[in-house]
């Protein structure tokens, strides 16, 4: 193996520009796939932030509602008390929820609007960086990024749910690429929606040691017309929704990344082999077995792709660090599954890229080294 590795390494290092093109091409192609995966994973993370940070162990919704994004959930007021009576439940907070547009001057942004009851223990903002964490009637807490973009501050008014509310607090970590989260008073929300005695979700806090799955099942058994899910369950459903929505785009970009990477590596390894065809002929004439030469080509392809993969991961990692600092509400999350997927792509690319050069070597007649001026 040392001979193979030596030849492969030296062949690669001999033409640094070609190596750079090869590694750069693979890095960019794989970054394309990796970055897109990371963006969608980041968006999924952001979308589930509210679910993950609301403080509830179990989410109780209208029967059949299993996530937040693009859904409406309406439960009778009475459900709150029914849920509270279930064993293992120590606290409940009913919230109202709707996807709406918040407008401030020319700036309009989609937001999850949450109606919070006075004194509610769950469902409120978790990181208020300016102003109050409590909302009373006529008040609203918005994401700081939205406020900055809209040019509004504490005390200014924004339009929400068909009315107006005055900003009393700015929260952090409540914005994503898709939307932000805004908090209004429960009574305002209910009034703006016609005053019906309903809630959207009942957030449940469990007693220490209570099993979320068991309690959720118990709630579903004993309270009519509800779906109860532990936090992890509703969070996973929300993520699945993002994945389902983005699957086609990710698949297309995966194919593009794969094809570009394959084309770059195949071309550079092929050209590198072509340029050394005479030397491969000499090695064959000297008695080197074909399988050793095949390995040299394969190792060259693998090294190129491995370097490209590492460069691609480093580049995407850099993007993941830099992008959140640019003010974009974008998070890049590089997952192990994504690394494994792109790594598999890279391995397949290396294998496929080596096929043509290997065929070329296999057809090379070693006797040709004695033929002067032969185009070998």
């Amino acid at each position: 193996m040392s001979t193979t590795l030596l030849l492969a390494r030296r062949n690669l290092a001999r033409n640094r520009i070609r190596l750079l093109v090869s590694v750069g091409g693979v890095a960019l192609a794989l970054s394309l796939t990796l970055a897109l995966d990371a963006i969608y994973a980041g968006v999924a993370n952001q979308l589930t932030t509210y679910i993950d940070r609301a403080g509830a162990d179990i989410w109780v919704a209208q029967a059949g509602v299993r996530n937040l994004h693009m859904v409406a959930s309406w439960l009778p007021d009475s459900v709150t008390a029914e849920v509270r009576s279930i064993d293992g439940v120590v606290e409940v907070t009913p919230i109202l929820y709707s996807t709406d547009t918040i407008a401030a001057g020319e700036e309009r942004a989609v937001a999850y609007v949450i109606g919070l009851p006075a004194g509610g223990a769950m469902g409120g903002p978790w990181d208020v960086v300016e102003g109050s964490a409590l909302v009373r009637r006529g008040e609203i807490i918005v994401d700081r990024a939205f406020a900055e973009k809209a040019g509004v501050a504490i005390g200014d008014a924004v339009s929400v749910l068909g009315g107006e509310a005055r900003i009393v607090g700015l929260s952090e970590g409540t914005a994503s690429l898709v939307n932000s989260v805004a908090f209004v008073a429960f009574d305002d929300f209910r009034a703006m929606r016609g005053g019906a005695p309903v809630v959207s979700f009942v957030l449940v806090k469990l007693a220490a040691g209570a099993a979320p799955d068991a309690v959720a099942a118990d709630i579903e058994r004993r309270v009519v017309g509800v779906t109860a899910q532990p936090r992890a369950g509703i969070s996973a459903e929300e993520r699945r929704l993002v994945t389902d929505m983005s699957a086609d785009i990710i698949s297309i970009m995966n194919v593009i990344g794969f094809v570009v990477g394959l084309a770059v590596v195949a071309l550079t390894v092929y050209v590198a082999t072509l340029a050394r065809r005479r030397e491969y002929g000499v090695l064959k004439a000297l008695g080197t077995r074909n399988r050793i030469l095949y390995r040299v080509v394969l190792v060259q392809a693998v090294l190129s792709v491995a370097m490209g993969f590492l460069a691609g991961v480093a580049f995407t990692g850099l993007l993941a660090l830099v992008i959140p600092r640019t003010g974009l509400d974008l998070e890049l999350s590089i997952s192990a599954a994504s690394l494994a997927k792109v790594g598999s792509f890279a391995a397949v690319i290396a294998g496929l890229a080596a096929i043509l050069p290997i065929r070329q070597i296999s057809g090379l007649d070693p006797a040709i080294v004695f033929r002067r001026g032969a185009a070998i």
Binding site: S2, R10, K284, A285, L286, G287, F370
Partner: protein, 297 residues
């Protein structure tokens, strides 16, 4: 019993079929002894390269047999030939054909490693060979940094690392100037003599005839006229055995460029006791003096 390193018997190589068939080599036979240097010359298209390729197990003859140290190469399967080439042949090419990405040392050691030597042993052996060939200061140089003569020395070291029985050289002096070419050929002959390796050289270069034990002329795929070279032991000139005078001493035959050298070798002395070279000098001196006088003032 005579030991023969390479035994080529009635070898024919035909390319193509039917009316378009071309016979490149026709019923050629050749036996090369250990330590013998054979030079094959001939015009372009005479079949030299085809013959060399067949002797090097790179091309199968259409007919005939080739034995190397008793092993019939022509009977071996394709799969076994690379190993034979690697371990029992040394190849030297016109264009040196060193691997451009490897240093001089790596070029040589690589072939040893391919034959199964441990990397450290291969490097040690390659270093010794290159040092022996005067390249101790060039071990880590890439081929592009070496002169033509140095490259060919590296190629010789590469050909020697697996201690082959036979070295095949294809136009080894074609890309070298006259002095370096001659040096390289003498080096090769020395190796053949000292290590008992047989060397077959294909070349157009008339200047290297004197290093060969035998010169063969290949034309139209056949050996036309076999010329065996010898070195005149008196004046050192390369002579063709068949066209020169010879003498025997102590059971060995010697060949000379002239009767004068033969006589001197046999110890024939002038009547006045002067040896032949002294007499020759005197005769030249007298002739020169006569020439000067005849020109007059």
């Amino acid at each position: 019993m005579t030991t023969v390193t390479l035994d080529v018997r009635d070898v024919t190589k035909r390319f193509g079929e039917g009316d378009t068939a071309v016979t490149a080599v026709r019923d050629v036979s050749l036996a090369v002894e250990p330590g013998e240097v054979v030079l094959i010359m001939g015009p372009s298209g005479s079949g030299k390269t085809t013959l060399l390729s067949m002797m090097g197990a790179l091309l199968r003859p259409s007919r005939g047999t080739i034995h190397l140290d008793g092993t019939e190469l022509t009977a071996l399967s394709e799969g076994r030939l690379p190993d034979i080439r690697l371990r029992r042949f040394g190849f030297i090419f016109q264009d040196f054909n060193l691997l451009s990405a490897l240093s001089a040392l790596e070029n040589v050691a690589l072939v040893g490693e391919l034959a199964g030597l441990k990397p450290s042993v291969a490097r040690e052996k390659a270093t010794a060979l290159l040092t022996g060939l005067g390249l101790s200061e060039r071990l880590d140089f890439l081929p592009e940094k070496l002169s033509g003569g140095e490259k060919q020395r590296v190629a010789i070291a590469r050909a020697l690392i697996n201690e082959p029985a036979l070295i095949l050289a294809d136009e080894p002096t074609a890309n070298l100037d006259s002095r370096i070419g001659h040096e390289i050929m003498h080096l090769l002959r020395g190796i053949a003599r000292e290590q008992g390796r047989s060397v077959v050289i294909v070349s157009h270069d008339q200047r290297i005839r004197d290093i060969a034990d035998r010169v063969l002329w290949l034309e139209d795929g056949q050996f036309k006229d076999m010329v065996t070279m010898a070195t005149d032991p008196v004046c050192g000139m390369a002579v063709e055995r068949e066209r020169s005078v010879s003498a025997e001493r102590d059971g060995e035959t010697y060949w000379f460029c002239s009767n004068g050298c033969r006589a001197e070798f046999l110890g024939t002395m002038g009547r006045d006791g002067q040896d032949l070279s002294t007499r020759a000098k005197g005769l030249i001196h007298d002739a020169a003096a006569r020439l000067v006088r005849s020109l007059g003032p």
